[in-house]
Structures are given as C-alpha cells and as structure tokens.
Symmetry: C2
C-alpha cells in the first residue's frame, strides 16, 4: 500500500525503469567475451569481468566509464599480458559504442510522467555517470517532466539519507520507483520511505535481491502505467 | 562588489578551491609521459594527451575515470600499436593512484565554511566523478559544513541554469566561489549571479580564460579567508 497523501517527491530510477539499458550491457559483455574466445569460454570471461567490476565499484562507482576500465583490466589479467594492442582498442570501441546507443523509452512513460508532474515533484535518481544520464534523458524526450537529476554514488541507506536531506523532505514524503529491489526498494523502505517495484526482465548479477512481499509503503507493479491508480 | 543581502546559497568549487588537486594531475601526466620517453618528448606526449581529453570531454565529461581512458587511448595512438601490455597496466595504476591521494585542505577553509554556514546554505558544486568528490569531501573533514554536493556535467551557462532551477533560487541569490574564471565565474555572471574568484597557482590548459576586471557581483580574492569581509 502506498500512502499517496504523504508523497511530495516521486523519484524515478532511470535505466531499465524509464528506458531499456541492461540489454545493451549484455550485448557489450558478449562482444567483450568474443575477443577472448581463444583464451577462455565466454562464461568464464564474463565471470571474470563481473568480479573486476565488483572489486572496482568502491573506486569507480557505477557507469560506462568504470565498465570500460574494468574491461581493460580484465583483458590484461585473463590474457596474462599476452594481449594485442588492437584488442584494447576494440574494448574502448565497445564502451564508446555504449555511450551512443539509442534511448528506447518504456511504453506509457511519457503519459505517466505527464500525469504525475501535475501533483508531485519528479526527480530522476540514478547511479552512473551524470553526463551519460543527462544525454539519455535528453534523448528520451522525458526531460521536461523532471525537476532535476539526482546522481547517487550508490543506492544504499546512507545515500538515500543524503538524498532526503538534499530534498529537505521526510522519508514518508519520498516515493521511489525502480526496477531493482536491492537498490530502489529495500534501502528506501528501511528509512521509512515508500517504493514501487517494476521488475525488468534482465537484472545485472550484482543487483539481485529477493523481493519483499508485504510491507506498508510498498507495492509491486508490472508496468509503469500501473503506478497511476496508486498516485 | 558582492551584494550579500541577496545571497542565499554559496556554492564552492572543490578541486583547487577547497583543496589541492591540479598538482596531482600534473604529477600523473609526468608519470604518463615518462612511459613513452623512447617514443616522444614529454611535452609532445602531454600535448597529445590534452588533445585526447578535450576530444573525449563530450562523451566522458570530467574526472579521473575519463582521464584514465584518455591516457589509454593516447598511449595506443602515439605508439602506433607497438605498446606492451604492462604499460597499459602502469597507466591504470597511475589512475587508481590518483583516486587514493590525500586531501590537503586550503588554509582557513574550515574556519570560513563554519562562519558562512550560519548565514547561507553551502553547496559543493563540482565537475568530475561523484564518488571521487564524495570521498575527497569526507577525507577533507569539510563534509559537515555542506548541505549537499551538486555534481555538474559541465560548468557552462546551461549547467548553471539547471543548478538554479534545482536549488529553486534566482540568479542573484547564488554566489559561486572558485578558482576558474572560465568555469566558476563567467557563466555565473552571465546569468546574473554573483562570483568570487580565488586563483590557484596552476590551471589546467583547458580552463584558461582571461580574468574579468570590473563587474557588479564579482570580486577577486587572494585566499579563501578573504571571502569573509564580503559575506
């Protein structure tokens, strides 16, 4: 149940909530793995890449630039230094290609945002690189509905605490909408905020968490349009 | 002249305004150039690196991760593909080393921030990677004086317009304090905001701009302590 009389700010996750993103990362991983088919099977390469990404999160945070650096580092490690320079060049190309992907907006997102904008302050609350998210927001055509972008270095309780302080609102006045139970739902509920989970068909291995079932301030929706009856 | 009766928010640039930063980048560039002393003289290597960085700004924005990727790209280009994998490893090490530098706060910064905090909302308005700036702010011990961090993808007029909208203030209510005339002063004044310039002894080649001399809403200070009489 969402208590919409309390809500002042609706914060939307961006990637895989408002537009498709994870599919592009999976494609990039496949292209990366294909560069090393003479060294290791694809699933080994992607497992090594994931391990590098998680190790580096503390230093790089989220986003494509960190992903690119982790690909380069993984490539050096799994080839034991026997890598050709042109392979490094290919890796950089995989990354810059990611930065130029089209933005495919989820069905009904414009309608839902337009409707909600009349009643709430809408913010985009996302991890990743600000410049990349700004570019995607511009390409999406959804920019006009949002008060501003909140870039979060992570989406843990402490990060949402900062967000609440930044927005000058109480926890129950925040409604977070996103596709990750781990990042968009659990920490918000733990602080006394409200959350709507809209699952996406692919989740990055590092984002997996068991969905919560029954808690005040929480509902699960199938599509972004299902938000409207709650708000 | 600063009209302090209008000011509501004092936004501080971070790097080279509150703490030393550019010296670490110059050291990193020298280490990078030294890797290629058999290929090119140091000034040629750093010129090539700067050209790569500027070309990539549109895609990477500011910060250490983009700097690392530009070093890798430059290395591949200037060696014409004849680079050893361990040199790429060294480049990544130069970058991760940068992420772990100590934070040396400018003299009097704590005193000045503590004094101003009683009268204004203080925000940190900076380009670069959020995670890195959060880490530096924490290390600096200055975190407690700031309402929040504003990460800006660039510091042009349009970016300050977003910042004003985000803060819900009029231009004259913003006072920006920073070391870059190009990034911290000119775009703010152009919008009708106020700015204090505190020069730093090193400026990145891409940040050079001729100081403005005489304009309402602007003063030049020698040290951060010189802010106090104006506020």
């Amino acid at each position: 149940m969402i208590d919409n009389r309390q809500v002042k700010v609706v914060a939307f996750d961006a990637d895989d909530t408002l537009w498709h993103n994870e599919t592009f990362f999976r494609e990039a991983e496949e292209k990366f793995a294909a560069l090393f088919e003479n060294f290791s099977p694809a699933h080994t390469v992607t497992r090594e890449l994931l391990a590098t990404e998680i190790k580096n999160l503390e230093w790089y945070g989220y986003g494509i630039k960190g992903f690119m650096l982790s690909m380069v580092e993984t490539a050096l490690r799994i080839t034991h230094g026997a890598i050709k320079p042109e392979v490094i060049r290919h890796i950089l190309d995989i990354g810059t290609d990611l930065l130029q992907k089209p933005v495919n907006v989820m069905p009904d997102a414009p309608l839902v945002l337009q409707t909600l904008q009349a009643h709430y302050k809408l913010v985009l609350a996302t991890k990743g690189d600000l410049l990349d998210q700004e570019r995607k927001l511009r390409k999406s055509g959804l920019e006009k509905y949002f008060h501003h972008i909140e870039i979060m270095s992570d989406k843990k309780e402490a990060d949402y605490q900062k967000l609440l302080r930044h927005l000058d609102i109480r926890p129950a006045e925040l409604l977070m909408v996103g596709n990750s139970v781990k990042s968009d739902v659990l920490p918000v509920l733990a602080l006394g905020g409200q959350a709507i989970h809209i699952p996406y068909h692919i989740t990055w291995a590092h984002e997996h968490a068991e969905p919560v079932i029954d808690q005040a301030g929480f509902v699960k929706a199938e599509k972004i349009r299902d938000l409207l009856p709650w708000l």
